[in-house]
């Protein structure tokens, strides 16, 4: 399982990367492998507010549709439009080409509450 050490992780299988004042968000390698081939990604629009633990979009695979839960609250400033035409990026490149949104967090403390790579690994390997 690929879990970059410089990222933070949520219980709902999103990764969060701090980039100065902003954070970049996507879903983990573990999440994409559980979901299987992703066929559709639904994301919010630039300017939308997202709220921690509330759904901000969904991913559809051949198996199921899963909601994406916001790992933190904030304002969406960028959305990865490429996922519209290339949802397979989520399977091929979950941490790079398949970033989903960039957010300006409204509460920095929420970032600290997220898990480290080791903590996340422990969570998903529990049976």
């Amino acid at each position: 399982m690929n879990l970059p050490k410089d990222l933070k992780y949520s219980e709902e299988h999103e990764w969060v990367k701090t980039e100065g004042e902003k954070v970049r968000i996507g879903i983990t390698d573990f999440a994409q492998s559980e979901l299987g081939d992703i066929v559709f990604v639904e994301l919010p629009e630039v300017g939308d507010e997202i709220e921690a633990d509330e759904p901000f979009g969904s991913v559809e695979s051949v198996k199921t549709v899963s909601e994406l839960y916001a790992p933190l609250s904030g304002k969406v400033v960028e959305v990865n439009e490429e996922l519209d035409d290339s949802p397979e990026f989520v399977n091929e490149s979950p941490y790079d080409k398949a970033w989903m949104i960039v957010v300006e967090p409204s509460n920095e403390e929420e970032i600290d509450e997220l898990m480290s790579a080791d903590e996340y690994e422990e969570m998903v390997s529990e049976d």
Partner: protein
């Protein structure tokens, strides 16, 4: 089965070939000349439609060959969980073809179709009795439209009382996907209530969620894990005290006929899937039928027109000022309603009770046959269906999808897989009451063989199916880049 080339009907086409020659019209085509006056020119085509041109024998062979590639309940076991793929009695088909039913028109004067109206009236009454509700509409075309119609009535009810702040519909995490979807389409915000370790709704969480913004709780009982929500009376009290309504998703009614009734559990609105529980044929996509039953305080909001009895005549009542309106043209899927009525009258009250007893017995029997070989997340008495987990096989590298594909090699329709989503590598199996013990045993034997293969020769399962007309299809490509139109090239 050998892979055989199966051309499309368009590819069989040769110019000038005909299947049937219509006689020359003995009427003059006065309307044709006027077509240009009746429709705007941009909607009129100049060129001939490119319909396939084949002989009658080619046509018959083409579709006969296609039909042999189909799997239906008449050809084999079909344990698709939550879909109730039971046998559809052929008597239903005889009744549906009686000329008095088959050749009438919905615009015919009421006095000419009293028999058909009587069937609808009696069916609605039977369904009200079976569900414990006060009135039933037969209009909704199938389950999801029933859900939507029911929620629109709940919405109209709250609005009539001036309670417009009731915007939330509570739905368990194990619910059918249509529940939150219907709530959204009806203008509500769905809110998820958790399932606890028993596989039942977490009462504490429900208490936290219920409040002044609660419009309704939508529930399937038994739930999608095949378990009966035994706290239902308490749940109903929580929702009713908060001022909300209880909605019963009838998809799993096959477990409770004649044993308990949603109305007695405290539900205010119920939909039934006549194409599941009441033997409407639905393998090829229907049509379905999703009648909705309501308690007395919701009757004013029923879709109109409503069938009423006036001086021994059945007639449609359109004077329903609070009605949510018509939800379907004409009067629902009459042909399916007719089959359901035939089924109810054939079975009788005692027969319907036997249906549920045997459905529950068959599910429990099969569950215990399979239990040693798969993970059983909720080890308790199940209702008409049960869920297994393929976790053990997943560790050996074989997924539930692989096992479902392997079942095709043995001529079985796979169970519902990866649903409910709160069970890992889920298989949801509903055998129904119409299967013999020998069929269940034969299916169990194959499932056990596949479980063994998953460990001993995983590639056999991962490469399955081996014996079908086509092998594994690229479902991801089909969903990402669907080709919906034949291109002659």
């Amino acid at each position: 089965m050998k892979t055989i080339e199966m051309p499309l009907i368009f590819e069989r086409s040769r110019p000038g070939r005909v299947a049937y020659s219509l006689p020359d019209s003995d009427h003059s085509c006065e309307y044709e000349a006027e077509l240009a006056n009746l429709l705007p020119s941009e909607y009129l085509r100049d060129e001939e439609p490119e319909l396939p041109e084949v002989s009658e024998l080619q046509l018959i062979r083409h579709y006969t060959a296609l039909s042999t590639r189909n799997h239906g309940v008449d050809s084999g076991f079909y344990p698709l969980g939550s879909c109730t793929m039971k046998y559809n009695p052929k008597l239903n088909e005889d009744v549906a073809r009686l000329p008095g039913f088959a050749y009438i028109h919905p615009y015919q004067p009421e006095e000419q179709v009293q028999g058909a109206l009587q069937v609808m009236y009696d069916l609605a009454q039977s369904l009200a009795e079976i569900t414990g509700m006060d009135a039933v509409t037969l209009q909704p075309a199938a389950g999801a439209q029933g859900e939507w119609a029911g929620l629109m009535m709940i919405r109209a009810f709250h609005e009539a009382k001036g309670e417009t702040a009731r915007t939330k519909v509570i739905v368990p995490d194990s619910a059918h996907g249509t529940n939150p979807a219907s709530a959204t389409v009806a203008g509500f915000d769905p809110v998820t209530v958790r399932t606890d370790e028993r596989g039942l709704v977490d009462l504490e969480h429900l208490r936290e969620l219920a409040g002044e913004d609660t419009a309704a709780l939508m529930l399937t009982n038994p739930n999608t894990l095949g378990l009966f929500e035994k706290d239902i009376v308490e749940m109903a009290a929580i929702i009713h005290e908060a001022g909300g309504k209880l909605y019963y998703d009838g998809a799993n009614s096959n477990a409770i006929l004649g044993i308990t009734r949603p109305g007695d559990m405290g539900f205010d609105v119920v939909h039934l899937n006549l194409h599941k529980t009441f033997t409407g044929p639905h393998g090829g996509g229907g049509p379905g039928s999703g009648p909705v039953g309501v308690k007395e305080d919701l009757i004013p909001f029923l879709p109109k027109p409503v069938l009423v009895k006036k001086e021994d005549m059945l007639t449609w009542d359109y004077e329903r000022p609070q009605s949510i309106g018509r939800v379907k043209p004409y009067h629902g899927n009459f042909g399916i309603n007719l089959r359901a009525y035939t089924y109810i009258r054939t079975m009788g009250a005692q027969g319907l009770k036997r249906v549920s007893e045997d459905a529950v017995l068959n599910a429990n029997y099969l569950m215990r046959q399979l239990q040693p070989y798969f993970d059983l997340p909720y080890d308790t008495v199940c209702m008409h269906e049960f869920v297994l987990s393929g976790k053990r096989q997943k560790k050996a590298g074989v997924s539930t999808l692989d096992m479902a594909k392997r079942l095709l090699d043995f001529g079985y329709h796979p169970p519902t897989i990866y649903f409910p989503t709160n069970v890992e590598e889920c298989m949801m199996i509903e055998p129904t009451e119409t299967e013999a013990k020998e069929t269940l045993d034969a299916f169990a034997e194959v499932m056990i063989q596949i479980a063994k293969e998953a460990v001993e020769e995983p590639e056999t399962v991962k490469q399955a199916p081996h014996h079908t007309a086509v092998r594994r299809l690229d479902e991801a490509l089909a969903a990402r880049k669907p080709v919906l139109k034949y291109d002659r090239g």
